[in-house]
């Protein structure tokens, strides 16, 4: 008994030293969960902002640029980069290519975020109008991600509810079905959003109408597409700037022509990876005598994309867009390697062939022309990749071309050509005129040519070609690297990981 008593005392002492209670409850102090955050007014708002943030994965990123620029009729690969093979359209363009998987994931991450917000929207204690606004913005963005998915991949997984638990049995839904949802979502945004928003950069009725017009074009609902575009032109607060070059002036990013833009900022904490567009078109000019990297001459040369001859020759001499688009002269800026007889500030003279020099840069793999639209000379150093420039997703001039396209396809070329000519008129150099197109000239190829001149290098091209079914024909014709393109390349391969990780058969696109 004495031992038991001692044992008891000992355990009591032990218990005291044991001190505070040993709770096993887990409180994720440092972590936010949907249940705790999205049910509050500010949390729900932040969730909507989270959906917006995925726009940056598409616009201003190398993935977004590569999958819309490389292997088109207007751009071929440049000197460097791991995705040069994409314009060869051969066996290297296969389901294992990382950028396809990246794009697929980025879009679905955005879609799932949107679905989650839509599921929580009614649980937060906020005014109904705000609730509706959040839903409208979110649904617009969801449709936007689906736009990328259906144009790039064709039939894709249609997800309309928040992912809960593990789902490995997703199936492909026909793109026509997906377009229906996109149209409903976008229509909801059109119906519930105003022409202006409470902050610059948010989705507006104008953005929604432009997206709706594109969706309707894909659905071959041409008249309604034309109507949507015309509503923007006629009722929206936008107007074409007088000068094409002004649209891309660095200090003029918020201008009357912009309908919707992915937002970037000089606040580095909110800028993410930044808009990197300034780097990708820039050739390796710094490897030539007398030159070094220069914020005002293209910055850091990623030398990913080179304009094709077709693109360079697409411009009328009176077209101001040529000068606003291309950088084809450089200025000596490096005293250390300056060639004999040249001075800093002189225009660079390039050796084109033995004995022949030119002040216009060659357009080869090693040294090619650049695109000026994404210049970002305010970065602190030439090496900084994260740029600050907003990325224009929808501009009013595109709406004019959308209207022209819709009207052409609706059998109203006479009405359509007016819209196209508006764009051409504005493009003329000061004091010059551009030849106008007649209704009889208006073809889908003419529209694509005009879109190239107006929107070249703005992450539109590959999807425009795919959307209009002209990819194979035009790329084969105009891109010297793409002679091997076949019909199968009209859609990208489904990422192999999606196929491998599905527990049911997930069909690949034909040919891959």
């Amino acid at each position: 008994m004495k031992i038991i008593k001692k044992l008891f005392i000992t355990l009591c002492v032990g218990g005291i030293t044991f001190g505070s209670s040993c709770k096993l409850e887990e409180i994720p102090v440092s972590q936010a969960t949907p249940e705790t955050l999205f049910t509050t007014p500010s949390g729900l708002r932040d969730g909507v902002y989270g959906v917006y943030s995925k726009l940056r994965a598409l616009y201003g990123s190398q993935v977004g640029f590569t999958l819309t620029t490389m292997g088109t009729d207007i751009f071929q690969h440049g000197k460097d980069g791991g995705y040069k093979f994409l314009d060869a359209y051969d066996s290297q363009t296969n389901s294992s290519v990382g950028y396809f998987a990246q794009l697929w994931y980025d879009c679905y991450q955005g879609i799932n975020a949107a679905n989650t917000i839509l599921a929580y929207a009614d649980k937060a204690d906020i005014p109904d109008n705000l609730k509706t606004q959040y839903k409208a913005e979110t649904r617009f963005l969801r449709a936007h991600f689906y736009y990328w998915l259906t144009v790039q991949f064709g039939d894709v997984v249609l997800a309309t509810t928040e992912t809960k638990g593990v789902n490995t049995t997703a199936v492909r839904t026909s793109k026509e079905e997906v377009w229906k949802l996109m149209r409903e979502d976008t229509q909801f945004a059109v119906d519930n959003l105003g022409w202006t928003a409470d902050a610059y950069g948010k989705v507006t009725k104008g953005a929604a109408l432009q997206q709706l017009a594109i969706i309707m074009l894909m659905q071959k609902d041409y008249q309604k597409a034309a109507d949507a575009a015309k509503t923007i032109i006629e009722s929206g607060p936008y107007k074409l700037l007088d000068s094409y070059a002004d649209i891309f002036r660095y200090d003029n990013q918020q201008n009357a022509e912009i309908i919707f833009a992915a937002q970037y900022t000089k606040d580095l904490l909110q800028n993410g990876d930044g808009n990197q567009g300034h780097a990708f078109f820039t050739p390796a000019y710094d490897q030539f005598p007398g030159l070094q990297r220069d914020l005002n001459q293209g910055g850091r040369p990623y030398t990913r994309f080179r304009p094709t001859e077709f693109f360079r020759n697409l411009f009328n001499p009176n077209d101001s867009r040529f000068e606003a688009t291309f950088r084809y002269v450089w200025i000596y800026n490096n005293p250390a390697t300056l060639p004999k007889g040249k001075a800093i500030g002189d225009t660079v003279e390039w050796q084109i062939s033995p004995g022949v020099t030119s002040k216009i840069a060659p357009n080869t793999d090693n040294m090619h022309w650049a695109i000026k639209k994404h210049d970002d000379p305010t970065r602190a150093s030439v090496q900084d990749l994260a740029g600050f420039r907003d990325f224009f997703i929808y501009r009013l001039s595109e709406t004019y071309l959308t209207a022209a396209e819709a009207l052409l396809l609706a059998g109203k070329p006479a009405e359509g050509v007016v819209y196209l000519n508006k764009v051409r008129t504005r493009a003329a150099k000061p004091g010059k005129t551009m030849p106008m197109l007649s209704a009889g000239d208006l073809t889908i190829d003419q529209i694509l040519d005009e879109r190239a001149r107006e929107l070249g290098g703005e992450e539109k091209r590959w999807m425009d070609l795919a959307r209009t079914g002209k990819l194979v024909e035009r790329v084969k014709k105009y891109n010297p690297n793409s002679a091997a393109i076949k019909d199968m390349y009209l859609v990208r391969p489904i990422p192999q990981s999606q196929i491998d990780l599905s527990t049911i058969k997930f069909p690949q696109n034909p040919g891959y």
């Binding site: 044991f18 593990v166 580095l268 990981s497």
Partner: protein
């Protein structure tokens, strides 16, 4: 009849004789003998032994003596005429310094105790009679005056004594031995109480005699550790324990090291064993702070019976690290140090300038419409053209790699009185890397104290504090060294460092700029204590309280100047970061130990334990520093803040466990263990897990039928079955958490959130059930000992980061799914090949071998593989699943190649399914990165004052995906390339494809990067010389030895990378592996 008894048993026989004869002693009996018998011996030509023999014949008495104790070969030099036996014995005893006792008809001769010869220096060594290893710290007392010393690190001792005196030699776990001093050098063989198996080993929450252990435990002692100049305790285990796979996680000074016991159970990469330091589970994985020289032993617990006491944390094995403690007796002071020079083991075979120039020409020719070579002036810049003209070439590896060095200094003091014992040590370690500005410095001190308050209370502490700083070179240094154009030059003609070694390369930077311009500084401070109190409630029952605070403060700063690869001439960047971890463990332990009757012995342990760990971390990153000299020390001056963050994590674990050991007749052993763990990391309803185990052992060699066997000295059969768990996940993993996003509207920041993880409230323990069967054996008095073990472990409910289709919006989800199986056999052998007591030459060999087969047995329950995760049922967890290169498309195959979208000169892959197409369905399992078997071999030799030890280890039959191979074999002619044989129209090889300037990397290039990395490595050779005691005695020292050692001196492998061992995990070759030649000194006072 004469009985000559070895001195070992002399005392025993003597006592027995005395017992039988009712204590008849000394002079009385001598007088009684004197009567009756008359003796006449001409003895001056006889030896003492012969003299005794004659006396035996003459008198019928029998002489009993130890030939060792008494030098019976000496001449007597006496004659006896008509003398009594008593007179004869008396004269002989006087002359030859012995006493004698008459017991019945026997005369026992004993060397005279009183009459000690002239004191002089006596040296000797203490050796384990079974293993023939030296015994360190054995207590040696002189019988005459009770003065004492201890054997030194070489098992040696020296003292001043005279012939005829006696040494009493004792050591814990051994039978005390008395040895007569009859020569100047004595070899004292100490016998374990039973055998080698009587060593005490540390098991969870207590110690056990090795012979009584029922589970699978490997013990690595201070002796093993001191033979390796290790930075990190794990390095000392390499090649020493069967089934324990130790491999580098990096080579830079202070880099971590990986350890895996019995293969990979969990599919999650997180498979390190639990490390328990002086009874306290240490903060996950960080053992770099522990000074190897402080370690007394490392016990590796492998099977479920041994590990089950650690329940939920034990499924990957447990390492128990016990540090050195003080002992009562003389204060020992020991100084130990080494200094070594390091250099790269190997350099990569890269192209030289001419080879590279040709590669670039070929790469351009491929894209020429006419297949023509370009002109050099069109594809090389002025510097390269000059290099070509001058036949000049830069090996950038030579530019950055030099010799490094390592040094270690350890001062230890230990000792104590009856009540208090202590061990103190302080240590300084410094390694300068083989690349400038890479180093690791660690200072630490340890205080271990034990104090007995009274018969019932005991208390003590094990504690250490350490501080280290590590400078990690930028990975760009190594990348640039491998990829820079060899036609470039590091310096211009004026000797100025060039930022760009070539004018036509805009990304690669002279690595010397990365070395000087970048800083990655990491400070770590660790304070650890294990404090205990023990109270003896009754003789059989005691209570033990363990409290273990463990704190780790890590902070660091990074800086990249403008002229570095990271910033390429742009603005400088810097950052600071800090992580503080605090863990506390409180354990209440009851121990019960009682015998019932003669045959029953019960030992029981009950434990209640609580541990929690809190981690706080934060960081700030900035850019545009106005002046670079500040590195990261004045971030407020920066132009922009580019990132800030902080985090908090807490977990706790509450456990109850019990263990009962029952022994019947000391040879039938049963151990039953159970542990219940509750973890905060799982959701309510899944927090608790129970992990039972049972083990049986039979000591066959203690059975009567084997007891007297001369051949078999040890034979034990044991088997165990039990389950252990794995928490394996970070806190908050059951929640679906949001990830932060950045956005803006106009200039107004709009930070937001996106769903980051899928919640899984059903997460529970990953459980491993393991069966283990083993036989321990010893032959010829344990001269050859060994263990053969077979085990099979089945892990189910794997905590798995399962990749899922990204159409869910997520990449992966943490789930309990699937099962794996590990089956293995482990063999350890230890043999004393030669042990000559004649000249002291000893040769001992230890071999261990482990073969582990790992396979996935189930995944989702539907019998299907998950290809996207490269998980295949029936195959190991880590397999490489890819295309298989079978050659290069040759010119005569152009049509087939083209039809399938391939070009001539490109890699040709196997059409595995023979469908005529080359697509994703042709991927196949190429192999696994888990070795089929691993083994270690240690040979130690000693002779006189010399010791030699050679440690080999090997990992065999496994693949790696070599990232550096993939990265440095781009064959585009922009970056330097491995010197490979590539395809050209004139050289239709099947080795490597045709260079092409348009490729960033080789299409299907991964197929070139799977390499077999089997190797055999001489891990360590150490040669030690112990100075003769006679010399060092004059220096007031008790031991002094010098050693030279070689670390990683030789490797046998087919692999052509830097190091097959390092690249086993497929990492890119950043800091290359090193070898070291060092000299060391050990001095004891």
């Amino acid at each position: 009849m004469k009985i000559i008894i070895q001195n070992k048993d002399f005392v025993f026989v003597l006592l027995l004789s005395l017992f039988l004869t009712n204590n008849l002693f000394g002079q009385q009996s001598r007088n009684r003998l004197a009567e009756g018998v008359i003796i006449n011996i001409q003895a001056q030509k006889l030896s003492l032994a012969e003299c005794f023999k004659k006396l035996e014949t003459a008198t019928g008495y029998q002489f009993v003596y130890s030939s060792k104790e008494l030098d019976t070969n000496q001449q007597t030099g006496l004659n006896f005429v008509n003398q009594s036996l008593g007179q004869v014995l008396s004269k002989l005893a006087d002359k030859h310094h012995f006493s004698y006792k008459v017991i019945d008809k026997q005369i026992a001769i004993n060397k005279n105790q009183v009459n000690i010869g002239t004191p002089h220096l006596i040296t000797g060594e203490v050796i384990d009679s079974a293993t023939h290893e030296t015994i360190i710290g054995a207590a040696i007392r002189l019988k005459s005056n009770q003065s004492g010393i201890m054997s030194d690190a070489g098992g040696r001792f020296s003292l001043t004594a005279g012939y005829g005196d006696e040494l009493i030699v004792s050591y814990i776990g051994y039978k005390t031995q008395s040895v007569a001093i009859n020569q100047d050098h004595l070899v004292v063989l100490l016998a374990g109480r039973q055998s080698a198996l009587s060593e005490v080993v540390v098991v969870g929450y207590g110690t056990q005699k090795k012979r009584d252990v029922t589970g699978s435990v490997v013990s690595i002692t201070a002796d093993d550790i001191k033979q390796i100049p290790a930075t990190n305790p794990f390095q000392a285990i390499k090649g020493k324990a069967a089934g324990v796979d130790v491999f580098n996680g990096g080579n830079e000074p202070g880099a971590a090291i990986n350890i895996q016991i019995r293969g990979q159970n969990s599919i999650n990469a997180n498979n390190p064993p639990l490390v328990v330091l002086d009874g306290i589970p240490a903060i996950d994985g960080f053992i770099n702070d522990i000074n190897p020289s402080d370690i007394q032993s490392i016990e590796v617990l492998k099977d479920a019976s041994a590990t089950a006491i650690y329940g939920s944390r034990a499924s990957n094995g447990v390492l128990l690290i016990t540090t050195k403690r003080g002992a009562t007796g003389k204060t020992n002071i020991n100084y130990d140090s080494y200094y070594g020079v390091t250099s790269t083991i190997n350099r990569l075979d890269l192209m030289n300038g001419q080879e590279f120039a040709q590669l670039r020409r070929e790469a351009n020719r491929t894209d020429d419409p006419n297949g023509a070579y370009p002109q050099d002036k069109d594809i090389f810049d002025n510097i390269a053209l000059e290099s070509i003209a001058k036949n000049r070439s830069t090996d950038w590896q030579d530019v950055i790699y030099g010799n490094g060095n390592k040094q270690n200094h350890q001062l230890s003091i230990s000792g104590g009185g009856e009540k208090t014992q202590f061990a103190l040590s302080t240590n300084y370690f410094k390694e300068n890397g083989i690349v400038d500005k890479s180093d690791y410095t660690r200072g630490s001190f340890r205080i271990n104290v034990d104090h007995r308050i009274n018969d019932k209370f005991k208390t003590g502490i094990s504690s250490f504090a350490s501080r280290s700083v590590q400078h990690v070179p930028s990975g760009d240094v190594f990348d640039n060294a491998l990829r820079l154009n060899p036609l470039g030059v590091p310096y211009d003609q004026q000797g100025n460092l060039l930022f760009r070694p070539n004018n036509d390369e805009g990304q690669r930077v002279n690595p010397l700029y990365d070395i000087t311009g970048s800083l990655d500084e990491r400070y770590r401070t660790r304070v650890f204590a294990s404090i205990y109190g023990e109270y003896k409630i009754s003789p059989a029952l005691s209570y033990h309280l363990n409290v273990g605070p463990d704190a780790e403060f890590a902070n660091g700063g990074t800086f990249n100047g403008s002229l570095t690869t990271a910033n390429q001439g742009g603005s400088s960047t810097a950052g600071v970061n800090e992580t503080n971890i605090f863990s506390i463990t409180v354990e209440n332990i009851l121990n019960y130990d009682k015998r019932f009757g003669k045959d029953h012995h019960i030992m029981a342990t009950a434990v209640q334990s609580y541990q929690n760990q809190v981690t706080n971390s934060s960081f700030t990153n900035v850019s545009k520093l106005p002046y670079e000299s500040q590195t990261y020390h004045n971030l407020a001056t920066a132009g922009s803040v580019t990132g800030v963050g902080s985090d908090y994590q807490k977990w706790s674990l509450l456990s109850y466990m019990g263990r009962i050991n029952y022994q019947y007749k000391d040879r039938y052993l049963l151990t039953v263990t159970g542990r219940a763990d509750g973890s905060s990391r799982f959701a309510t309803g899944h927090k608790w897990g129970f992990f039972p185990s049972a083990a049986l052992a039979w000591k066959i060699s203690d059975e009567d039928f084997l007891k007297s066997s001369k051949l078999i000295s040890t034979l034990k059969l044991r088997t165990s079955y039990g389950s252990t768990g794995n928490t394996g996940i970070q806190p908050y993993k059951t929640f679906g958490v949001l990830q932060k996003t950045a956005y803006t509207f106009g200039d107004t920041g709009a930070p937001g959130f996106l769903p980051g993880t899928i919640s899984n409230p059903n997460l529970k323990w990953e459980t491993t059930n393991q069966i283990n069967t083993a036989i321990d054996f010893g032959f010829w008095n344990d001269r050859l000992t060994g263990t053969v073990e077979y085990y099979q472990s089945k892990t189910h409910d794997l905590l798995l980061d399962r990749s899922i289709p990204t159409s869910t919006g997520f990449v992966s989800v943490l789930e309990n799914i699937g099962s794996t199986e590990n089956t293995g056999i482990e063999v350890s052998l230890s043999s004393v090949n030669i042990s000559s007591t004649h000249n002291g030459f000893r040769w001992k060999t230890d071999i261990n071998f482990a073969r582990n087969k790992n396979k996935i047995t189930e995944l989702l329950g539907d019998g299907k593989d998950i290809v996207g995760n490269s998980w295949f049922i029936g195959h190991p967890i880590n397999v490489f699943y890819d295309y298989k290169k079978i050659g290069i498309w040759q010119t005569d195959e152009a049509a087939v190649a083209k039809a399938n979208g391939f070009a001539v000169g490109g890699i040709k892959i196997e059409d595995t399914n023979h469908d005529g197409k080359y697509d994703a369905n042709d991927r196949q399992i190429l192999g696994s990165y888990t070795p089929a078997w691993i083994a270690g071999l240690t040979n130690t030799f000693s002779y006189g004052g010399f010791d030699l030890s050679v440690v080999l280890n090997t990992r065999q039959d496994y693949l790696t995906y070599s990232q550096w191979y993939d990265n440095n074999n781009r064959l585009a002619g922009r970056y330097n390339n491995l010197n490979v044989n590539y395809w050209t129209p004139e050289n239709p090889t099947n080795d490597n494809p045709r260079p092409d300037k348009n490729q960033e990397s080789v299409f299907l290039g991964s197929t070139l990067a799977y390499k077999n990395v089997s190797f055999v490595r001489v891990k360590n050779i150490i040669f030690t010389y112990h100075f003769p005691l006679a010399w060092i005695k004059k220096l007031q020292m008790s031991a002094l030895s010098l050693n030279v050692s070689a670390e990683n001196p030789f490797t046998i492998t087919d692999y052509k990378g830097y190091d097959p061992e390092f690249e086993s995990t497929g990492q890119r070759a950043l800091y290359p592996s090193t070898k070291m030649y060092s000299v060391g000194l050990n001095a004891s006072f």
